[in-house]
Subunit: 236 residues, 2 copies
DNA sequence: GGCAACTCCTATCATATGTTAAAGACGGCA
DNA sequence: TGCCGTCTTTAACATATGATAGGAGTTGCC
């Protein structure tokens, strides 16, 4: 929860009272093992899901069962704040690894927004920033080849982990399988594997189990044409 | 402007006074010819752009100049309401055809939101719904083949035009070139052309100049695996 | 009314990525 | 310690889509 507040405060001004009010939000703990859809397509939602540990993917689905990950959420991020404004889920939430979730009731979030307008604004801004990331992924998937897509994703995740002080920016834990990486990038697991090896041979980065080690940040940024503009963090 | 209010009222409750307040918003008229970037990447924005006539594309860009359209906006839609919360443009705005824009100052929008909280909420919801469309596009581009992508896009636009009463749902004007369609779908203009012909041979739809005629709605929906869930308009 | 600039259409060829399948590696559980 | 399920890695082959280029229509401008 502190991570969530830190994240909000990183892009929106909140005074001590407001930060405290967010911290006081009642939550319900939920532990899910790997690969569980804990929010299903079309479901009517009355609570938002804050990631406390693990990794969550937001999934879109095609009729023949192929899945596309539309966003991933690391600890400290609210995976579906948007559900407040769109209570019928148009997208599923799935645990990419074993994960613990804090469920926050919509009514409490709404009450908080009414009481503290700057919190409402912070939530709104948060939705918008999430949207900017999705838009960037669309560029990535629509216009870049596999190598650039992977490089871009690893750059983005490095910055996002660093934002929450969960990494020094060179090394972080990303518990995704190659299949899941493929789902995020519009690729096959086979092709992800090929390309990952290529990136390793080039000495740009290494992925072992879930540990990502970036060996050449500048080259990786170049390979992924990565620009932090869309993350609104010029400094990182 | 009336169209914009109608759109807001379609998903958020606004009383007469609030609707009126939106209508009173001061605007600045801007006419742009086809293919002009009237908002550039990285620019600092202090106004939002409401489409009055024509068609606007939100573009992401790759270093070698390939472009990806991240969303298109028809008359009555605010193309970059999100700029209120993210004033540095991470995405460009380009006129897909000759277009007229109404510019609305951020400060006026902010003042309106402060004065009428339901308007602030309506804006927030509007951002979230826009985001849901982008997410769906990501699924489309990441996991469907060219035929399905095109079908999906044409279904979506039919519904969106119908929402604003600008079409009977079978026929509408979409002033996009095949190149621009390719930019929206992560395809080449050549392949768009091939696939469009295929769709015509199948008697699903016809596109002449800018006139889209849907010949077999149900088949088109099937081809694009189109489900209105993400548009939050179960009825259309 | 004619030139210039876009679009659209077609054809050929090139290639990145998908498909399928099977064999290792790894890791958790009994 | 050993087994079983999941994940990774390889290989051979298939195909959707890209690249390039040229011609034929349109459109709009002077």
């Amino acid at each position: 929860m502190e991570l969530f507040v830190r994240r909000l405060a990183a892009h929106s001004d909140l005074d001590a009272e407001e930060r405290d009010a967010v911290l006081q939000l009642p939550v319900q703990l939920l532990e899910v093992r790997s690969n569980v859809d804990f929010v299903r397509l079309g479901e009517q939602i009355d609570h938002a899901c804050l990631v406390a540990e693990g990794l969550v993917g937001k999934f879109g689905q095609t009729e023949d069962g192929r899945r596309q990950i539309v966003s991933v959420h690391i600890p400290g991020e609210m995976a579906d704040l948007s559900s407040l404004m769109m209570p019928q889920a148009a997208t599923a939430l799935n645990s990419l690894s074993s994960t613990t979730i804090l469920r926050v009731a919509h009514k409490d979030l709404r009450a908080l927004g009414l009481r503290y307008p700057s919190i409402a604004t912070a939530f709104w801004r948060s939705s918008v920033l999430d949207g900017a990331i999705v838009a960037q992924w669309l560029v990535n998937v629509g216009r870049r080849d596999a190598r650039a897509r992977l490089a871009h994703l690893f750059c983005e995740m490095a910055v996002r982990y660093r934002l929450l002080d969960q990494s020094d920016g060179r090394r972080y834990t990303l518990p995704m399988t190659q299949e899941q990486l493929g789902d995020a990038l519009g690729l096959t697991s086979v092709h992800v594997n090929r390309t990952l090896q290529h990136l390793r041979e080039e000495k740009l980065l290494r992925v072992e189990r879930s540990a990502v080690t970036i060996m050449d940040w500048k080259a990786l940024v170049r390979a992924g044409e990565f620009d932090t503009l869309y993350l609104q963090r010029p400094d990182l």
